[in-house]
């Protein structure tokens, strides 16, 4: 009797992994090309921008909040970075881009703290407003034109490497991502600051009563999210070699979806970056498999929404059954 409960529990807790395996097997049977080296590289390449944005979002959601401003951050950082390559060189542009993203995240955090926004709903709409501010600045900055790397006079080898480089069978962007993941997971699991994020998501009142400054933690999670959105943006412009002022559109839903599908609870307090990676993998595989099977893009949009709704639903049921 106890054993069956355990099996059920394990299955419920590893639903994503199960989904990934089932998806791979089904696609591999129907379309053997799925298992080729080229497709493997292709999947790794798609890991780029979304995985970074989702990783940053993970810690905001663990902290019990949400951030819709990644759309604006990705758009703005992309166009600013690309436009800075000519005046200050590629390394400087890269650095400035990351700095700008960090600053935008910090700004979000400070504004939320100053206004005293403490619930997910309040935060949702204020960050939506921030997102339209950032997006509008990107549009005004570029006069709504797409910038192209090929028109630059300075070299942009770093960006080419991030976008297209390979070390062994792995793409450069995935290696950068793994490094970032290890650092941030170490930070989240082993440092006091990191543990405070989980504490804040778990119980704000308890955390405050324990003497932790939740305002600083709130600013911290948004700063992390901004930095990661900036990294995602740089990976994106490196990959497509252009920067559009509306490039970020849709990333907020995808990022939230990856986090939630991965199994990080929206209520906050539990979850990890590694779970998010599984979530991202599932979403990328889903689109890759559907492309391979020749499913129309419209159906893919439907599937995306459906996966999000079902994932949250199952997540909720799981919570109720375990407790």
């Amino acid at each position: 009797m106890e054993k069956t409960i355990n099996v059920k529990k394990i299955v419920l807790q590893n639903l994503v992994l199960l989904g990934i395996i089932v998806l791979c097997i089904v696609t591999a049977i129907v379309e053997p090309l799925f298992l080729t080296q080229d497709n493997f590289t292709n999947i790794l390449r798609q890991f780029g921008p979304l995985s970074f944005a989702a990783l940053g979002m993970t810690y905001v959601i663990i902290g019990g909040f949400i951030d819709l401003s990644v759309v604006g951050t990705i758009s703005l950082v992309g166009v600013v970075t690309l436009s800075l390559i000519d005046p200050i060189g590629q390394a400087g542009a890269l650095f400035c881009g990351l700095l700008l993203g960090t600053f935008l995240g910090f700004l979000n955090g400070v504004i939320l703290v100053k206004f005293g926004a403490m619930t997910q709903a309040e935060v949702l709409f204020i960050t939506y407003g921030m997102s339209s501010i950032f997006g509008a600045i990107a549009l005004i900055y570029t006069n709504s034109e797409t910038e192209h790397m090929s028109r630059l006079s300075n070299p942009y080898t770093i960006f080419t490497f991030i976008g297209n480089g390979k070390i062994g069978p792995f793409t450069a962007s995935i290696i950068l991502f793994v490094i970032a993941l290890i650092i941030i997971e170490w930070f989240y699991r082993k440092t006091l600051w990191g543990r405070q994020i989980a504490l804040m998501g778990g119980n704000k009142t308890a955390a405050t009563l324990c003497g932790y400054n939740m305002k600083k933690t709130l600013v911290l999670v948004y700063t992390i999210c901004g930095l990661f959105a900036a990294m995602g943006s740089i990976v994106l412009i490196s990959r497509v070699t252009t920067a559009s002022p509306v490039a970020g559109a849709g990333y907020e839903t995808d990022a939230i979806m990856s986090v939630v599908v991965g199994g990080t609870a929206l209520a906050g307090g539990t979850g990890s970056g590694i779970r998010t990676v599984l979530g991202v993998l599932l979403i990328i595989l889903l689109s890759n498999c559907m492309n391979m099977l020749g499913v129309s893009t419209y159906l893919q949009t439907i599937m995306k929404g459906l996966v999000l709704v079902i994932a949250i639903w199952l997540d909720n049921r799981k919570e109720q059954q375990i407790h």
Partner: protein
């Protein structure tokens, strides 16, 4: 009562109604510019542009009052327009097609309500996902092309004018606004919504059927979004899967800007209407002044952040006092 206490009272009311203050500020500001702003035609135009979002906002208000929200209204609006136009083009009589579109909205609302109320999922993320799903269905149905309605009498629904030059859309808006105002203020059902938003547990133990009422709020919200979709398609005489991309967020923002709190239990039809009106009036003012669309987006973002931010700030102060 001395003039001083009257002044303090006025100040308090104005601070509470930041949206009204914003409207007054905009109107005063427009006095300094020589534009077409103060013409009857322009004001009719403002009211007409409010109608679609205003009607959606009435439904969304119900869900927000019950301490939830509905971000799927953009997708619902888009889908219902597509369904109505497709059915009419197929030869279905207009009333039946409109009814089917309305039912589709109610169905979406019922699914949302089931997931949020009975399965206790987080409303905003579930409805966000539902919006994506509905967008996909609209794209699939229309092949992502705008489709024109071949039956010209469908256009009459939203493009007729009454009393000379008043667009009939304003009349629809007025009727629906009064209906919701009445429901929320003077019926048991409406008062129960406030009770549920105010304190769910207390409402439950007071014998209110919380599940059914919260569920019905979502169904109403879906149906209102569908109605708005039909009116929009009728006004444009076409349906397209790109309608309503931002509507979900904007309407929910507008509702909150007006003063219907996301914590639930505070606000009402009038507040929500004012909130939507602020956003539309601002767009109109900026159009009159000839401000470019990107700057408009920037200013709109700033206004949203400021109004919602000060809302949070006043709640924070209240918590500190308590």
């Amino acid at each position: 009562m001395s003039t001083k206490s009257v002044l303090i009272k006025t100040k308090k009311i104005l601070l509470k109604q930041k949206a009204v203050l914003a409207i007054l500020a905009m109107i005063v500001l427009m006095l300094f510019f020589d534009t077409q702003f103060f013409t009857v035609y322009n004001w009719l135009n403002i009211f007409r542009s409010v109608t679609v979002q205003g009607i959606i906002a009435m439904g969304v208000t119900m869900t927000v009052l019950c301490a939830a929200c509905d971000l799927s209204v953009g997708g619902t609006m888009c889908l219902s327009g597509v369904i109505a136009v497709l059915m009419i083009n197929f030869g279905v009589p207009i009333p039946i097609a409109c009814l089917c579109a309305l039912l589709s909205g109610a169905l979406v609302g019922a699914v949302n309500g089931f997931l949020v109320v009975h399965q206790r999922t987080e409303p905003f993320i579930i409805t966000l996902g539902m919006g994506t799903l509905l967008k996909g269905i609209s794209q699939l149905l229309t092949d992502a092309h705008p489709i024109a309605c071949t039956n010209m009498s469908f256009m009459q629904i939203a493009n007729t004018k009454i009393l000379g030059q008043i667009p009939i859309l304003i009349l629809y808006m007025l009727v629906i606004f009064l209906l919701f105002f009445w429901i929320l203020r003077f019926t048991n059902y409406g008062r129960n919504c406030y009770a549920i938003g105010g304190n769910y547990e207390v409402a439950k133990y007071s014998g209110i059927n919380t599940l059914a009422i919260k569920w019905s709020a979502f169904i109403i919200s879906g149906a209102m979004a569908a109605l708005a979709g039909i009116l929009l398609s009728s006004r444009m005489n076409s349906a397209s899967s790109v309608y309503g991309d931002n509507t979900g967020m904007l309407v929910n923002c507008g509702v909150v800007i007006g003063g219907t709190s996301f914590a639930g239990g505070v606000g009402g039809a009038a507040e929500s209407f004012i909130g939507i009106f602020v956003l539309q009036l601002m767009t109109n003012c900026m159009d009159c002044l000839g401000i470019g669309s990107y700057v408009q987006e920037l200013l709109q973002g700033i206004i949203i952040v400021l109004i919602l931010g000060f809302d949070c700030y006043s709640r924070l102060k209240k918590r500190e006092h308590a």
